[in-house]
Subunit: 149 residues, 2 copies
DNA sequence: TTATTTTTGCAAACTACTTGCAAAAGCTCC
DNA sequence: GGAGCTTTTGCAAGTAGTTTGCAAAAATAA
């Protein structure tokens, strides 16, 4: 009598997901488990709509997906990036698989690579056949005055 | 009898802006001149709304600002980044002032720095007093199959 | 199990951005 | 410099991703 949702196959996987949620102080609900399981199993980046389509039919509402994703970002379980204009993409924040993306300006296909030194990266991408390369690098942190308040 | 818009002060400045627009094959219109002049004079990054507020009253419609900014991006006169969720920020693309941004996760204040090697950058930011630093690095280019078609 | 808190689904709202269309402005060529 | 063609603008309405208010349902605590 398994009480696992269909898309979470093993007890082991289930335990991992429950552990991650509790570690972050989030209560364990079915939508949260399903979304997190998906992001761990298939590494994105996925838009909220991608996730909605990939989940079992009627698994949960789109609003719930947005709410969960925002909580996952706050707790740093996932990372987000604006790769296409006007649409966020989400990914499980796996510290062992630090990587970056290259998106084709025309077909929007998203590829990834694992180098992390800027000058090395561009030559890697050129070897991969990309042209007209630009990059966007932004840092996010908490500034001095916000640390005080 | 100067025919310059009020916010473009000198003939020299005007000539520069007209030159940039023509160089990119864009016709020279008042909204385009005003927006470009603003982005050159005050380096942003600015949102479309910031630009609207900074332009002389009734200088042009918000839709025109979006249209111009999109043309400027296509012609690489300006660059855009999603620093805050759901809102693009724009900056004059000055090749002599390559730099990156750090945005405070809490107050959203945007600061900039000119280092461009990843490992050097983080220590620079720490010295500046930021904590809990994350970065977002994305590359954009034209992939092999799009180059053919 | 019961009581309290949190989360969800639904529908409506919100907001950044885009678009269709007619009028206005810019460009071209004589 | 002006006529005619093209491009751009303003306006208003539309679009799409995302958020939110509220009552019902699920999760947690006791």
């Amino acid at each position: 009598m398994s009480t696992l949702p269909t898309s979470i196959k093993t007890e082991e996987e289930n335990a991992k997901i429950v552990g991650l949620l509790k570690e972050k102080g989030l209560s364990v609900t079915l939508p949260r488990k399903l979304i997190l399981a998906l992001l761990i199993k298939e590494h994105g980046p996925f838009s909220a709509e991608d996730i909605f389509k990939k989940l079992p039919k009627n698994a949960c509402d789109q609003a719930t997906i947005y709410r969960c994703l925002n909580q996952f970002i706050e707790t740093q379980l996932v990372t987000s990036a604006y790769l296409e204009k006007d649409m966020a993409h989400f990914e499980f924040n796996d510290p062992h698989h630090h990587h970056h993306h290259i998106i084709c300006k025309i077909c929007k296909k998203i590829d990834s690579f694992h180098d992390c030194i800027l000058d090395k990266i561009e030559s890697t991408l050129v070897k991969k056949g990309y042209k007209d390369i630009q990059h966007r690098l932004e840092f996010f942190g908490v500034c001095g005055s916000c640390q005080k308040s």
